[in-house]
Amino acid sequence: MTIRPNALPTQEMTINMGPQHPSTHGVLRVILTTDGEVVTRAVPDIGYLHRGLEKIGERVTYAQFMPFTDRLDYLASMNCNCAWAWAVEKLAKIEVPERAEFLRVIVCELNRISSHLIAFGSYTADMGAFTPFLYGIREREKINDLFEMLCGARLTYNYARVGGVSGDAPPGFLEKTVEFLDYFAPKIEEYNELISYNKIFVHRLANVATVTAAEAVAYGLTGPSLRGSGVPFDLRKDEPYSVYPKFDFKVCVGTGERGTLGDCFDRYMVRINEMRESIRIIRQAVARIPDGPVLAKVPRVFKPPVGEVYFRSECPRGETGIYLVSDGTTNPFRLKIRTGSFVTMNIFEKVTRGLMIADIVAVIGSFDIILPEIDR
């Protein structure tokens, strides 16, 4: 198409997407420069939810910071709880009873399922299909019931403790967990039939915002976003922590089944498939959980040795790395939390160039970002 020399001059339009927008998953603001429907540049602006968690971390003790990790990624509080506990235990060299580790793995994987359910549900809602979202929420409520039984809260669990977990599984918890898994496993197939392979849905996601494997590694993508690009890297397998080496599970990677490798659809499918693997892990963990105490004898206020530790664990939204510098006092000297979503936002501007406005929504959903984790 040639441009007519006497055509009317056109100009690009700057649109503010967010911080109040239904599909930015919170208070993300994206400054869009558009040429009609085509986005020429999308710059993320973050920080609307900055609460200074790292600064708070410097004034509370190691044990007291636990409830704040609930607020790090509120859809996967258990994973953040456990990540903090593992990091501090590594720093202070605390041995954890095996039953506690099994319980942690069970709750982490349950929380991974519930977090992926939200990712799945909100993604479909972003794409215009509202019904699967409510199906996802319905299943998540059942997980919340389990957690409520275990620790008494439905959102901010605060379950892990430095040295173990806050309470043993109440009678009937493990049985109910298995019951839930039996109920939930066929639902994944139903989701796939309902929406995943729906022609419109596939068309919306396939070949959109492709990230190659090399780019994904260079930009520090982690978790499902990295695996969606075909990199089989999972911290649970490749840098094993806790009792994960004892379980048999598969690392799900994107295959490019409906488009190019590393597009939105691959990232989406990795999450769907990971739910199946989590079910497998939980089944094994429930079957093999040993008896014993669930909390090591750790004083409420303790002084870890001088030193520093960088510990990373596989959270539903990528690697949550905790960098702790201890000066030998009761409080952390410096605490830095590297979260999956924050680093992921780095690649956002690059992959969204030339997409359409509707695709911006698809990209945000496919990275499954969550704002409290970005802004901390």
Binding site: P22, E37, G128, T131, L134, F201, R204, A358
Partner: protein, 371 residues
């Protein structure tokens, strides 16, 4: 309308004293009021049903607090819409901003005039019925474009532009998909089209089963019409999750209510046209409603027509709560690469069929085989 007035004057001698034009005017006003009341009631009930269906499909209950089982919810919603503050953005083009909802409302309601509700229940049985519907529903696009422009909001503008592109594109397949029914009936009047689907063949007398091409025509029409009326999966002009709420993002109170009502009005028009053109309209299988006394015949056929139309509306809601939304380029591709060629092929097929088989459909041929 005039013929109706003459017959009315004959039936009721008291009216003979008044001039004929006055009686006609009176009838016009009366039928307008009746249609408006019907449309508003439908929209109220429709919104309630929509939410109930959504609730059922989404494994929840839906509205159930206002009145028994929530059946008065639509009244509560209506009262709320009327009482809410009517906000006009400071930088909006006030005149156009106020004008836009009326365009949309009028465009959607004027189409009710020709809907064949029953044997004799049509406000105006125009001999260009289908063209008339196509023409007045096009007013909606003007209203939406105005709303998008006048709001002085970028999201609204995008929604308006999307709507304009979408509705104009989808007019083509919608029109093309309706023409087979016109060809079979040999008339553009909706009443004629309905009448042509009667006879002793029962439901096989419907245009839907006339021949394979009309069968496809129905689905093509249904798909394209969903797009023309901005229903999911083609609700791009509103696109809650992308454009926040699209062209009506700045509207509130009763002005928003007008958009809302027009949306349901469009929904009914699509269902009514599909019913009239493909599903036999008010025709009752194996039963001639026109032969009954006028009152009973009309009531019965009205019931049948509304049942069919409501079933179509239910299907539209069902689709709406199942499918995700297309992207704007895919929407255009669907119109011009899929629906337009397919409807043309269909039209050609129907024309050839009618030419070759002398206007007979498959059921008709089978019936004549068995005597």
């Amino acid at each position: 309308m005039e013929s109706l007035a003459i017959s009315l004057v004959k039936a009721v001698p008291v009216l003979g004293a008044a001039p004929l034009w006055a009686v006609t005017l009176l009838l016009m006003v009366a039928s307008a009021v009746v249609i408006l009341v019907f449309a508003l009631t439908f929209e109220g009930v429709g919104s309630l049903v929509l939410r109930k269906v959504a609730g059922d499909i989404q494994a929840r209950i839906g509205p159930n607090r206002v009145g028994p089982n929530g059946i008065l919810q639509f009244l509560a919603d209506g009262v709320k819409l009327v009482l809410k503050e009517d906000i006009i953005p400071a930088n909006a083009d006030r005149f156009l901003f106020k004008l836009a909802p009326y365009f949309v409302f009028v465009g959607s309601f004027a189409a009710f005039v020709v809907v064949p509700f029953g044997v004799g229940l049509t406000a105006a049985d125009l001999n260009i019925g289908i063209y008339y519907v196509m023409a007045v529903t096009s007013l909606v696009v003007v209203g939406i474009l105005l709303a998008g422009w006048a709001s002085n909001n970028k999201w609204a503008l995008l929604g308006g532009m999307r709507a304009a592109a979408q509705i104009v594109s989808y007019e083509v397949p919608v029109g093309m998909a309706l023409i087979p029914a016109v060809l079979i009936a040999g008339s553009l009047s909706l009443q004629d089209i309905v009448r042509s689907q009667g006879g002793g063949l029962g439901i096989f007398g419907w245009n839907l089963f006339h021949n394979p091409f009309t069968f496809f025509s129905f689905f093509l029409y249904f798909t394209a019409a969903q797009a023309e009326t901005n229903q999911t999966p083609f609700d791009l002009p509103e696109a809650e999750s992308e454009l926040v709420s699209g062209y009506n993002v700045e509207y509130s109170g009763i002005r928003f209510g007008l958009f809302f009502l027009a949306e349901f009005g469009d929904m009914f028009i699509v269902a009514a046209l599909a019913t009239a053109c493909f599903l036999g309209g008010w025709q009752i299988p194996f039963f001639n409603a026109a032969a009954l006394p006028p009152v009973w015949g009309n009531l019965l056929s009205l019931g049948v027509f509304l049942t069919k139309a409501f079933l179509m509306v239910l299907v539209m809601m069902w689709v709406r709560w199942t499918l995700p939304r297309l992207r704007v380029d895919q929407l255009m591709r669907m119109a011009w690469k899929y629906l337009v060629p397919l409807t043309f092929v269909n039209l050609l097929g129907v024309s050839l069929w009618l030419l070759v088989f002398k206007g007979k459909g498959i059921p008709g041929m089978i019936a004549s085989l068995f005597g």
